[in-house]
Amino acid sequence: MNASPPLRFGLIFILLFAILAGAFEASRGTALERVMVVDLVIVPTAQVLNAITPDEPVELHGRALVSGAARLNVTRGCEGVELLLLLAAAIGAFPASLWHRLRGLLLGGLLAYALSIGRLVALDLVLRYAPGGWQAMHGLIMPLAPVIILSCYFLHWSGVAVAGAGAAAQAHQSHAT
């Protein structure tokens, strides 16, 4: 029995994501994880924050961004790696050429990276200047807003993939006739 396209996509997507998340979880405590989380995400976040609010400098204490009375602990699920994994799983599950997938992953990876840093910057600023909105921002808006932006990117990417495949099929047909 043939699974319908949404079901096939959904199953491959969640399977790929589970594999990628499992691999990342297995890397916890290694140098790779430290580079991915601390060097590539938390340190640049602190630099961006220091550029935005030079009067109130941010210091890095382990995996916490500390400035004055505010302390933002970057824990599991806040690191932004899951954005890249979700995108990679979605691109891997969608039928497209290898070239189109690589391009989608590269551009999408840059977008996911920017969104990860932007999310941490926004959370830190909310914690410092609008703590009343912390729970809604941390629990709902900030986890979902980057996913929504990445989903829009993925829909655009998949639309281009489908259009490209259609154009290639038409060209093939006209050659055959």
């Binding site: 079901l7 199953l11 997507f13 790696v81 994994l85 729970q135 629990g139 709902l140 979902l144 996913v147």
Partner: protein, 216 residues
């Protein structure tokens, strides 16, 4: 637009949703607890202001199921704002998905309901029960890194979002299969002599094809 509205509803309606869903969480938690030496007492929402409020599950863990006294009493909790992530994603995808007729739209939403209940059990209820599994493992002298803990970590690391998306797509596929079967049946009924009692032809789905692959 729909997504922004969904986020706003999620942020503002978290408490109302948690109140509505709490009996189901308690029911599902009790069903899962039947296979473990756990006792689920109640699920409640703390009385703090909406953004800081949490959903709490209170219960007890016994060393063995036939022990008279519990070995530990536990309170596990989840932020209300985090609780509404799955419903916001799941129902946004279903509402954004194109349906050629209103009948197909209703089928899609009705099909989504049992899938959604399964999603809530696999995400929120399992996360609320993770401390119980942890306590059971500690009481048994086993490693506290149980499958429950690994599952909870997976949910925290984006798995909740991934599962909600995959579950929504499963609901779409299920609704499409139901719609196709109904259309096929209607098509066969039209080719045969009309039965004396049955659905009028105006209620048959307008198109027999599968749902479109892309949402709006």
């Amino acid at each position: 637009m729909l997504v922004a509205a969904a986020l706003a509803v999620g942020a503002c309606g978290a408490r109302a949703y948690a109140r509505l869903a709490a009996p189901y969480y308690a029911l599902a938690a009790r069903a899962i607890a039947l296979a473990h030496p756990w006792q689920i007492e109640r699920v409640r929402i703390t009385s703090q202001s909406a953004p800081g409020a949490v959903l709490q599950l209170e219960g007890a863990v016994r060393r063995r199921a036939d022990d008279a006294q519990p070995a530990a009493r536990l309170v596990s909790q989840l932020q209300l704002a985090a609780l509404v992530q799955s419903p916001v994603i799941f129902w946004s995808v279903l509402l954004a998905w194109s349906a050629p007729t209103r009948r197909r739209r209703v089928t899609l939403l009705l099909t989504g309901l049992p899938v959604f209940l399964g999603l809530e059990a696999a995400t929120t209820v399992c996360q609320l029960l993770t401390p119980f599994a942890y306590a059971s493992a500690v009481l048994a002298g086993e490693s506290p890194t149980t499958l429950w803990l690994r599952w909870s970590n997976f949910l925290e690391e984006g798995g909740r979002v991934g599962l909600a998306l995959a579950a929504a797509l499963c609901a779409v596929a299920l609704a499409a299969a139901i719609g196709s079967r109904a259309a096929h049946r209607a098509h066969r009924a039209q080719r045969q002599p009309a039965p004396t009692s049955g659905w009028p032809s105006t209620l048959a789905p307008r198109s027999a094809g599968r749902e479109r692959w892309h949402p709006h």
